[in-house]
Amino acid sequence: MKNKKAQLHMTETIAVIFIFFILVVFGMIFYAQYQKVAFKEKQEEILSTRAVQTTLRALYLSELICSQGEAEPEDNCIDLIKAEAVQAIFQKYLSNYYFHLFGYGRLTLHEVYPQEKELVLYEKRRVENLANESTFMMVSLRDDRLSVGTEPSYAYGYLLVEVYS
């Protein structure tokens, strides 16, 4: 009788341990899945932060920003004359300067009004791009060639910044 009770107790203990380990395995699977998602999210976050940093660098780059002598540069404004000339400079000093600023990515200037046109300012691609993050920022496109009197002409456009991982 005492033997049977002990056997029953053993079976009960084994069942409890078995269920406990099943729960532990489930927990581990859940945690592994979570880690996988968290890792992907972290990668996306890093890419997003890089997109934001690249956008800000491009917006305040003295090679592009609207300036007038020693006056304060204009926010959210890109000088079209500078932008048209800067492609060649970006290309010339790509590896020893601009790549460190923008990394793998593409900067495109789009004019929406009065005309619709686009201008690729910078482009550096990897052989195989894993992911891509885009940020839009509205900018005025100043063109001093169309000035009337002292009033410059401002077109309505945006800067598209794409960064590649």
Binding site: D75, Y113, F136, M137, M138, E151, G157
Partner: protein
Amino acid sequence: MLFPVPEKKGQMEMIGLVIIVILISLGMLFMAQFALKEEPLKKVFARQGLATSALSTLMKTTVQETGCLSETSAQINLRLDRHLLKDCAQYSAEAPQGFSQYHCQGKHSCQFLEELVGKLLAQTLGTWGKQYEFHSTLQLSGGSSRELFSINPGLCEKKERDSSKPYLFPTDAGMVSSELFICS
């Protein structure tokens, strides 16, 4: 001792109960971590930065349309804020059919502005899948105000939104306040 004595059995069950409570608490903490996660930096930057830059860009834009200036008047670069919005504020009481100094495409400046601003925002924010709301209001002396024009009124009212902050422009008729909201 090979078998636990009955008094210890109760204690062991209590320990089991405590372990279950600890496990449930850990699970809830884990879930709370997901629920209270901060809004990503990119999302906040994108909405706030976009609203501010969109409004300042819009206001600075030079309008190039036919019929804005009469043939006899001096040729100037017509700015959306300095010329057209000012004109709209000054002659808003006569909109949409009455007099205004500038008649781009043969329309009153308020009507023309409503169409142009609506088109430009639709071509940019609209195509990027953003929801937005725009208001331009004239603050009259005496505390009252008059809406000059608006785009998608009420769309962002009950949603999580970011504002461009009011763009204020003084005119002879009063202060013109323009604001853009982006929600998504």
